[in-house]
Symmetry: C2
Subunit: 118 residues, 2 copies
Amino acid sequence: MARDESGFSHPDEGTLSLEAIFHALSDPYRLRIVRALAASTVPMNCGDLSFGRPKSSMSHHFRILRAAGVLHTTSQGVEHMNRLRRDMLDRRFPGLMAAILGETGQPAGDHPRRLTPA
Amino acid sequence: MARDESGFSHPDEGTLSLEAIFHALSDPYRLRIVRALAASTVPMNCGDLSFGRPKSSMSHHFRILRAAGVLHTTSQGVEHMNRLRRDMLDRRFPGLMAAILGETGQPAGDHPRRLTPA
DNA sequence: TCGTTTGTTCGATAAGAATGGAACTAGTCC
DNA sequence: GGACTAGTTCCATTCTTATCGAACAAACGA
């Protein structure tokens, strides 16, 4: 979990903890970030994923997701670009992300599009 | 989410929240409970799933798991019998429990047997 | 160099969750 | 009824997390 070239700490595959991942995903904003990244073909910066919340709050959420190994951040100029660590997560916990994102193959209704209890 | 015959409140399928499930699963003891129940062919009482912790603490954890819809509790005499709500969870979030429990089909190494970071 | 943009860090506060002892309730058996 | 068992509820304490303004840092362009 050394700081990489871009100055961010990312856990490596062997140290992933399911508890930490679940904790990271138990917050509505963090789940929105994950879904937005999953739906995007390109990395997104923090501003794109702020949902109108203060920068300091979102920076906190990004740090939790990074520390859990859910996303990866790199600097590009003044921006910090984020992407899901989908490959690693799929290797370590096959099916987990697919289940979270509702990629089930079967129609499964309207299921996980709701972020807050109705 | 009305109290059922046995006096416990269980959410019904439509009101399940992924955030609540993740929060429920983000605790090491709760994850142990879930894994033990998944590995058992029969319901287990709270005492069987106490891991040596105080009853009041474990009662708290059972309530969280119940409220999230992860397990179902019924009274049988003085005991409270618990079982995973696997069918409902599989309907609502297909693949989620399988991923958590490491039922991947592929060998996937030693992966999710560790409960606390090494 | 100065100003702008993007995001982090710091610090204080508030909200939420975990813990565990003590008292309590509900069954069961004598 | 009395004793015993299995869990829950209550309560206080402690720990953790979230929130957000303010100050800061780094990259960039004029």
